[in-house]
């Protein structure tokens, strides 16, 4: 048996003339959190749907937990936990009933589910809301209930499609804390996200998708150091754009202009910052290069049609 918990090989999917996913391969090792990042329309959701057997790939194969899609679709799903991009909670049921009813879809006995419900609600920080309906919950509570629901069958692998989109920072941090706890418990996670800090914080490995193709893969810090200089200095304000063409340019390894802001990428920011001190009318920001810089470098700064 393969040491990978989940493996997708050469996945491809076209809709008409548009290639949505193109020759995509990846694996998830036990206990690993794999992040899939990419602009809107990069093929993230289609990839998740193929992993779930909801969309049939034109080419390629998917194996999970020693079983293969689509033949063993239901047997695979019995060991997965899924949080989709949009909540599918039952609005007519309380939180506890949502968990009970969902557990039954896995063929679990009521007694077994009822025994798990208090722990799941506690995990979701919803013990005090057991009898509340989803409509009475905040966005963050609903997402945590969705996560708790995905855990009702004690899955080995979780597939999470943008689990924190639309949440405020408090709710997002609580969600991250819960996901980190799950990883510590030995669960494996496949996560799609638009938030680079989320990807950096949670994922041991990242897959960068664009136009359905894998354009980079690796650990977050490693990817940054491979593709980017260590430091970024942003400058904006009156006269900033002229700097991009001035001799100052030579102090940076790479210069990028976006809107009214100039981005200087450099291994050593000191000379650059000293030179910029001669332009007090400019506002500057010095920071380490991060995943967002990498993402923008790889996928471009243009707004996508879908975005």
């Amino acid at each position: 048996m393969s040491p990978l918990l989940f493996e997708a090989r050469n996945l491809a999917k076209r809709y008409g003339n548009t290639s949505v996913v193109d020759d995509l391969s990846f694996g998830i090792a036990p206990g690993e959190c794999l992040g899939v990042i990419g602009p809107n329309g990069a093929g993230k959701t289609t990839t998740i749907r193929m992993c779930l057997g909801l969309t049939t790939p034109d080419h390629g194969s998917i194996t999970a937990l020693g079983l293969s899609m689509p033949r063993d679709e239901l047997a695979i799903k019995a060991q997965l936990g899924v949080v989709s991009q949009f909540d599918t909670l039952d609005p007519d049921f309380s939180c506890a009933e949502n968990l009970l009813v969902y557990g039954r879809y896995f063929g679990m006995k009521d007694a077994v589910i009822r025994e798990r419900i208090p722990r799941l609600l506690e995990f979701a920080a919803l013990s005090h809301k057991a009898d509340a309906r989803p409509g009475e919950l905040s966005g963050g509570m609903r997402r945590r209930l969705s996560l708790a629901r995905a855990l009702v069958n004690d899955p080995r692998l979780l597939l999470l499609d943008e689990p924190t989109t639309g949440l405020d920072p408090q709710a997002r941090h609580l969600m991250w804390e819960r996901l980190q706890w799950l990883l510590q418990q030995g669960k494996s996670i496949l996560l799609t996200t638009h938030f680079m800090d989320e990807a950096e914080r949670l994922c041991s490995r990242l897959l960068v998708l664009d136009h359905g193709r894998k354009i980079a893969e690796g650990g977050p810090r490693l990817l940054i150091s491979e593709h980017l200089e260590a430091d970024v200095v942003e400058a904006y304000g009156n006269g900033a754009l002229q700097l991009a063409e001035s001799p100052l340019k030579a102090l940076a390894a790479r210069v990028e202009v976006s809107g009214e802001t100039v981005f200087f990428y450099t291994q050593d920011a000191k000379p650059l910052l000293d030179a910029l001190a001669a332009h007090p009318q400019l506002r500057t920001l010095h920071r380490p290069a991060n995943l967002e810089d990498l993402f923008l470098k790889l996928t471009g700064r243009q707004i996508r049609q879908e975005g």
């Binding site: 749907r49 779930l52 909801l54 969309t55 049939t56 790939p57 034109d58 080419h59 390629g60 194969s61 689509p70 679709e73 239901l74 047997a75 799903k77 019995a78 997965l80 899924v82 989709s84 949009f86 599918t88 909670l89 039952d90 609005p91 007519d92 049921f93 009933e97 009813v101 969902y102 039954r104 879809y105 896995f106 063929g107 995905a150 069958n153």
Partner: protein, 266 residues
């Protein structure tokens, strides 16, 4: 990997049961108000037309004998109630779960296939029809419209009628983009059928070509099966009518399943 045909036979398992149970649990919370809504209208028709029109019409010739108009109407309109209850559930309610609330998507992230979900919805709409029909039958018994023991046999037949119409309605559920679409189904299909199936007046009043059309309608055969039992008789052609309903049910379910698979095969 090859796309599997949307017309392949249903792949069914017992996982339809928790989906059915889910609908039952929601319904239990709303059963009493929904029951009032479901039976108030048919009973108003029955009382207004049965007693009001019945006084004008007097006796109607049916099944070789003269019967009071209210009995004639009650024995037909119970089929209409089964049809309406099943159709509403398999259209508006199923569409809410499938499209608006995305309940089906949530269910299919668990080990439950689309086929099982569609089967559960079909049986659920059939159950709703039986529940409504049982309540109406209770009122009819209380009004002493009929007290034939054969009504016990009419009851499972009405379950079959509900199942048949829920199968047909699920075809339109699979095709719908929004709720407005269902208005066409009701006004262009169910309402004309109501008038052509011998519920309000005997079908021999219809001109010959129209009567021919009415022979093909599922509601006609539902009435042919159920009406005699109200008059303490057995249907004249139980096999023929039963087969017509079964053909509509099986054909309807197969088409509904294929179209629903196509809808979800994005």
């Amino acid at each position: 990997m090859n796309e599997r045909s949307m017309w392949r036979p249903p792949e069914l398992s017992l996982r339809w049961w928790p989906v059915f149970l889910r609908n039952l649990l929601v319904w239990r919370k709303l059963a009493i108000p929904s029951l009032v809504g479901n039976i108030a209208e048919p009973l108003m028709w029955l009382v207004a037309f049965g007693y009001g029109m019945g006084a004008l019409v007097g006796q109607v010739h049916s099944g070789g004998s003269e019967v009071p108009y209210i009995l004639f109407l009650a024995s037909g309109s119970i089929c209409m109630s089964a049809m309406n209850a099943a159709s509403f559930e398999a259209l508006y309610s199923a569409f809410s779960r499938m499209h608006v609330q995305k309940t089906w998507d949530g269910i299919m992230n668990a080990p439950v296939s689309l086929d099982s979900v569609v089967l559960a919805e079909m049986l659920w709409a059939g159950f709703k029809a039986v529940f409504t029909v049982t309540a109406i039958l209770g009122v009819m018994l209380a009004l002493d419209i009929s007290h034939s023991l054969k009504l016990l046999a009419a009851w499972p037949v009405l379950l079959g009628v509900g199942v048949t119409f829920s199968c047909i309605a699920l075809i339109f559920n699979a095709l719908a983009k929004n709720y407005d679409f269902f208005t066409y189904y009701f006004t262009l299909f169910l309402t004309p059928m109501m008038f052509l199936s011998g519920i309000f007046f005997p079908r021999d009043q219809l001109p010959a070509p129209v009567r021919l059309v009415s022979e093909l309608l599922p509601l006609t055969h539902a009435v042919e099966l159920v009406r005699p039992m109200f008059m303490d008789q057995w249907p004249a052609h139980p096999l023929r009518s039963g087969l017509v309903l079964a053909a509509y049910a099986i054909g309807g379910f197969w088409i509904a399943l294929a179209l629903t698979r196509r809808r979800f095969r994005a």
